[in-house]
Amino acid sequence: MALIELTNVTKRYRVGSQDIVALDGIDLVIEQGEYAAIIGPSGSGKSTLMHLLGCLDTPTSGMMRIDGIDVSRASANKLSEMRNQKIGFVFQSFNLLAKFTVLQNVELPMIYAGVTAQERRTRALAAVERVGLSNRVKNTPLQLSGGQMQRVAIARALVNDPRIVFADEPTGNLDSKTGATILELFRELSEQGRTIVLVTHDNKIAAQTPRRIEIQDGKIV
């Protein structure tokens, strides 16, 4: 069974009196273990698609299944649960909590999963080690470089062992050399069997992934 399955998904926004069609009849299947890039110019609807896939939002119409669960009409609480258990996010601007240490940032998803303090610590340490930052656990994000911050974000995304990781322009705020190491990390994770979906507008990045999903004017081309 496909990990993600979208059938005729549309998303409309109302801005003022204008109806904007952000996604227009998307059909998409992503299999377990795939490494894909969603690519498209700004305004193409790729962010909207990622919000839907990431369970931050629900479609206006159409059918959407993630890991066999129909989320097209799910409640806000159900969506929160999905984000917590099945999905990991990596953002362009890292979105780490500046007042907390690296370890605490990585522990954050587990707090909402109800994991005990001791297990949180073990798992967070393991995740931080996986991204190669074991020596910085006590630091706060502001004491880290951009690449290190993104690694912390990746550790946070992985810590609840999600079925799929979404990365929204993960290298957008990084210089090309650091960006390359981050992409390398994603490739490694993919080789270990993680399902990863990158969202980007950069063809060079999309060229490195086995699968390209091009989107334009709300449609997959």
């Binding site: 931050l56 806000a76 649960e81 917590n84 996010f89 979105n95 909590l97 707090i111 909402y112 946070r156």
Partner: protein, 456 residues
């Protein structure tokens, strides 16, 4: 997310904005402090009043006082002998609901002399029952006896204030057996009453006795544990007991024979005046108050030959008024302090709203990694409750400071801190903290995660 983590998070948030949090708490601190101080001050006031009421005889003391006779009895009102010792004797004999009864005849401005000491004071002539009715206590020697009354003995029981004045150079002097002159007539002191003072003065005096002597003069006059305070030192602020401490009690018979056998009005001797100044009794059981009244009414009605020239003077109304005024002081003070707490709560709401707009991004991140709306709601409410909690604790501490200052600048009744008042003030602060967090928390929990992530 559990409560414990929420608490830690709230504390972290508060400690990362220490000054701002303190300003936010200040409203709660002042509110709680004023609420508790107000409660404690009223409680202290009420305690002082009750103490005083008890000292003047309590609710069970009833006086029989004269009143104008009803209009239809005016013509033959003279057939009533008025209040006399016979009334007291009749009550003593027949009123089984009365525990003590005494007639009282007073002598104002009597010259009191011993050696070279001379001053004027009042003298009370009564029966031994006068002592229990008026909550007097004999500290040394003995009370008057029925035999003293029967034989019109020249004996007296004096208040502590009188011994102070008669033996000013001897603060701890035992006057029993000494002779003093009342209007030139010798009396033997057979007893001395205790030194009456407010509990608070007593406490203060004992503390002063324990503490190293700062004011040497005062401590010298008041030996540790000693009853009589120095002439004025012990009496400071105890004004309401001054009269009680200045008591000179003699048998009523002696009073009549020595001082009341002639009453000169306008250079003409009107003959003996055996009318009483007071006639009071003590109700044995306050539950049977009205029955006791009816009984005494019937007995005194008979000795007065049916003339209704007397009525009862009970403290009931007075007590009720005092209790009522304490209640209303507490209520209005509580309301004002409550309003200041509410204002503090509005301050919390305001700051929490500001703090949320600062943290929209953080809320978005938390939602993205799986926080539910109710997790966010709880985080904000707990944070606001923590502000209320800390504010409450600091407020309680502050109120003790405020009370200390109030006690120092005024010599009134010391505030009494009661546990319920502490609990009420504190839980009010906590409730205010929780409730003020509601609106910001609802607002935060309803933020759209996508919008929140894009913010800033």
């Amino acid at each position: 997310m559990n409560l414990w983590l929420g608490l830690l998070l709230g504390l972290k948030e508060i400690s990362s904005h220490k000054f701002r949090s303190f300003l936010t708490m200040l409203g709660i601190i002042l509110g709680v402090a004023s609420l508790l101080s107000m409660f404690s001050l009223t409680a202290g006031m009420a305690k002082g009043m009750r103490e005083y009421m008890q000292q003047v005889g309590g609710i069970e003391k009833v006086g029989i006082i004269t009143q104008d006779v009803p209009i239809e009895q005016e013509g033959y009102a003279e057939i009533s002998p008025g209040r006399t010792v016979a009334d007291a004797e009749a009550i003593l004999k027949s009123a089984d609901l009365v525990s003590y009864v005494t007639p009282v005849s007073e002598l104002q401005s009597c010259a009191i002399t011993r050696a070279n000491q001379l001053f004027r004071s009042f003298v009370v002539g009564a029966w031994p029952d006068f002592v229990p009715i008026n909550k007097h206590e004999v500290a040394r020697g003995r009370n008057l006896s029925l035999m003293d009354v029967e034989n019109a003995q020249h004996v007296c029981v004096i208040g502590d204030g009188i011994s102070q004045r008669l033996w000013p150079e001897l603060p701890h002097f035992n006057p029993i057996g000494q002779s003093i002159m009342l209007n030139g007539c010798p009396f033997t002191v057979v007893g001395e009453f205790t030194h009456y003072e407010r509990e608070e003065d007593k406490r203060r005096r004992e503390q002063a006795a324990k503490a190293p002597p700062v004011e040497r003069d005062r401590t010298k006059r008041k030996p540790p544990g000693g009853a009589p305070g120095g002439g004025r030192g012990g009496g400071s602020g105890g004004g309401m007991f001054d009269r009680k401490n200045a008591m000179i009690l003699i048998p009523i018979s002696t009073m009549f024979y020595e001082f009341k056998s002639a009453s000169v009005v306008g250079l003409v001797d009107q003959g003996p005046n055996y009318k009483l100044d007071q006639l009071s009794f003590q109700v044995a059981d306050t539950a049977a108050f009205q029955q006791t009244m009816n009984q005494v009414q019937a007995i005194v009605g008979a000795t007065h030959r049916g003339i209704e020239d007397f009525t009862f003077d009970t403290k009931q109304e007075w007590f009720d008024t005092i209790e009522e005024s304490v209640q209303s002081t507490r209520l209005s003070g509580g309301m004002i302090a409550g309003i200041s707490l509410l204002v503090g709560g509005i301050g919390i709401t305001n700051i929490m709203l500001a703090s949320i707009s600062e943290r929209i991004r953080e809320i978005g991140v938390r939602r993205a990694v799986g926080a539910k709306g109710r997790d966010i709601f709880m985080q904000i409410v707990v944070e606001s409750a923590v502000i209320g909690f800390i504010g409450g604790v600091l407020g309680l501490a502050a109120s003790f400071g405020i009370m200390k200052i109030l006690v120092m600048i005024s010599d009134k009744n010391a505030p009494v801190v009661e546990l319920p008042a502490v609990l009420i003030s504190f839980s009010f602060a906590l409730i205010i903290g929780v409730v003020s967090g509601f609106y910001p928390a609802i607002k935060a929990s309803r933020l759209d995660p996508i919008e929140a992530l894009r913010y800033g």
